[in-house]
Point group: C2
Amino acid sequence: MNNRDSSSRWTRHLKRLVPALEWLPSYTREQLTGDLIAGIIVAVMLVPQGMAYAMLAGLPPQAGLYASIVPLVIYGLMGTSRPLSVAPVAIISLMTATTIAPLAEEGSADYLTLALTLALLSGLIQVGMGFMRAGILVAFLSHPVLSGFINAAALVIMASQARHFLGVDIPGDTFVEQAWSLVQNIADLHVPTVLLGLISLMILLYFKSYATPHLTAAGISRGIAGHIARAGTLFTVAGATLAVWIFGLDRNASIAITGEIPSGLPGLTMPDLGPDVLLQLLPSAFVISLVGFMESVSVAKTLASRKREKIEPDQELVALGAANLGAAFSGGFPVTGGLSRSVVNDSAGARSGMASIFTGAIVLLTVLVLTPLFTYLPRATLAAVVLVAVLGLLETRTLRRALAYNRPDVVALLVTFITVLVMGIEIGIAAGVVTSIVFFLWHTSQPHTAELGRIPGTGIFRNVRRHSTDVDPAILIIRVDENLYFANANRLEQTILDAVAQRDELSNLVLVGSAINSIDTSALETLEELAIRLQLAGVHTHLAAFKGPILDRLQHTHLMQLIGSHRIHLTTADAVNAIQQARSSSDE
Amino acid sequence: MNNRDSSSRWTRHLKRLVPALEWLPSYTREQLTGDLIAGIIVAVMLVPQGMAYAMLAGLPPQAGLYASIVPLVIYGLMGTSRPLSVAPVAIISLMTATTIAPLAEEGSADYLTLALTLALLSGLIQVGMGFMRAGILVAFLSHPVLSGFINAAALVIMASQARHFLGVDIPGDTFVEQAWSLVQNIADLHVPTVLLGLISLMILLYFKSYATPHLTAAGISRGIAGHIARAGTLFTVAGATLAVWIFGLDRNASIAITGEIPSGLPGLTMPDLGPDVLLQLLPSAFVISLVGFMESVSVAKTLASRKREKIEPDQELVALGAANLGAAFSGGFPVTGGLSRSVVNDSAGARSGMASIFTGAIVLLTVLVLTPLFTYLPRATLAAVVLVAVLGLLETRTLRRALAYNRPDVVALLVTFITVLVMGIEIGIAAGVVTSIVFFLWHTSQPHTAELGRIPGTGIFRNVRRHSTDVDPAILIIRVDENLYFANANRLEQTILDAVAQRDELSNLVLVGSAINSIDTSALETLEELAIRLQLAGVHTHLAAFKGPILDRLQHTHLMQLIGSHRIHLTTADAVNAIQQARSSSDE
């Protein structure tokens, strides 16, 4: 290999790792305009959201702003999704809180260090999985398990925000404990806080659902009305902050406020690299990596497919992981791509990752210049921001369709939902994954088989229970509707032996393999034993309609010797004709 | 329901539970002759075997005789296999030893009580599984895992018998530890013991492999020669005992002997029912139940199929469980159906479970009358009996065919083999089961798909990579060769979206479902998302050749609304023709 080849290979690898190297050189002024507008709009959403999610994670509000700078820039350069906006999201912030709360006191320096460490570990796991092309692992989080988890997580988030929203102390580690504390302490609720929270909530819900139609009805163009509605969170936060400041509600009515936020950047932050701490955080970091990737990649895929763009899941893992590493060293906490922001970014006209970079730059400017404005921001309003975001997570659609379509999925969903609420997030997700795998194995271990008969006067063979067919008493035709592997091979053998034991005149068994996609060693041996047992009982085994790749692999096995190549048939009709011809010629 | 109905239902249930009620009333003199001869021959094999396996289990030899009375009678009445002989076997005796050795000192009363308790628990688990129809659970012990386990167990048994065979003390819990002790202590071996052991071994091997041909060559009928060969173990044991007694080898040469065996029965024995003990033994009892059932039912099936008889796996579990409960209360230890005895029983002419009952009766007679004869039986000879039995367990056939046929099965086999040797039996089996499940899930999570094209001039569609075909650039035809479920749905979606992104002219996707046997809720939702994403990209989705039961279940789903009934086609050819007709009529 000469130098040019290897250097071009390196360039290719590098461009794969940092897709910006591909699109930046041909970046146009037109793209710049779209990206800048989208970047500003997303930043307006993100600033209050980031602070609210930091509070949800148990961190000071500025951590949410820090986590909305470097990760956005890194993902903008490395991601394969154009509009994906990588920063704090509700579920991951909650998982950060539940992971760290038992290990350090909220507000302590240790708590912050642990959050950095969690981001570091999640980032390393994601980068590692990306390089190992292990993105497929998330596939084991089935939709019902995710639905059970997200619904439960929404309830857990609401419970965790209740203390800010109601001004009540609510101790407890799990949802069930917190709900019980809430019931016990509900009499202590702080009326001014509740009022401020409810007013904030109503204004936020108004902006979310009614602002756009009202504004367009008032003659404002749909695009501008949309932009105004999206800035609703900022308006609400600004209004509440102003109200607290003007009326001195923090002193007069004991409304909890954010307090002074240090302006400027935190500088390079260091995660805790002690082996004990790393080991303790590892399981949570693993779940956060998977859930974060899952959430992110499904958003990216939805947005990409509209424009026939392509997402590279393994590069997405690397980019998300790098964004988390960025968060770990810049005062943040675990981040991922969020749905609502990314949709806004897309519809506001983001043309490339540059939009994310602009968003990051604007948040940076906010941190450098505007933080004094947030001192009087009431916590109840931030809690309302979280509640509105989380209301969108509740859904019963998956449950309803699982009820209508597939009962085992209902069990997996409910197991996850209940276990998350009672025992916590990681155990709940693990219980759900195990439940869905057990159901899948159970299902495949009981293969569906059908006895076939000839539709009279044709060469077509169908299930004797569904169609009126002719059955030759000397020939049993069984179609197997499942891949054959260790967990179902014995069951299949039993089914066939039982069927054979019932038919005294039987002399031939035809196995129809049109729906068999794989046969493992156990199933191969079971088929061999079956063929031998049938032979001892005077029954010949035939194979019909097996697929080419399966027959290729079976070619040199003992099974083929046992059956004999003259008993392998292309179609069921071929098999039956051959058997009947052989019989009539031997009768002559 | 009137009384007669319910009473006849009870009779039916009872006959199912105790099949002897079915066959005893019509029992004939001819059956009696066959059963009596078979029962005697098996008893002649079983008496030395039972004592040897008791020694392997770490129990006094008489326990092996006790375990060869009641269980045989119970299984004879309740089992569905005619020739199956349920008594101690090598693997289960080894598992008994490895379970109890860490908990009590060999030879102590506690050790015996724990063995009874283990039999009780295994029996309860088997009966429970039988009533719950959970016999299918054993299917999760795949052939490669079993092969790895049995081969490793054979080595573990050999190592455990080395101390009797060589007269050396070999401490250690696992094979690796024992092998290392053996290497260190090999210089201490006791020469007279080794000589006696080797001579016993050679005589046993002679009877096993050469006696029948030599005797028939000398003019003895094949049947009688076979009977003599089968009594070889008894001859060897009797000869060694006589030699020790006559030459006083126990005193002159320090040969270890069995010692005085209490004659008569032990009376009703009581397992330890303390909750701590039960809990401690539970995991091992579970594995013993599964392995015992697996071994037994495969022997029963092989013997039954020769005569087109039927085995009821769930009733087998109940009968085996009852036999183990019998062992628990009659001074025995866990039992199961053994291969060699059952084959002998069958070929010696057993006609019903009565043969087992006769065997039990003869062993009972031995215990009552003949035990003084066993006092001088040398332990080295019993060890040789175990070694010969265990040599038959070693096999490389499964490994060789897995190597030739399916590499993941090789990994599962080796993981089991090595883990059993290094970490013990239960962990080894668990590691093997988990490995094989992970490989299966991994395999099904990467579904095989094929793009199809039309074989020119026909209505037949085949894989474009295997055949030369015509491809319409506006139509992508994908056949999916796997059931769709959570672990592969995203992967499939990605494959299809990637393929769509590469084809600019594409307007129709045809999914061919002839090899799809099930679709779970996750896959259904993914297909819906796919259909929506493709619609947004201007591509119509069609389904072709999906099976009736699958289409029935999909009927009222959102997916069907998205796709529309006019885009569901019986065959691939129908789909392509419909698309091409619609296009040409819209072009006109």
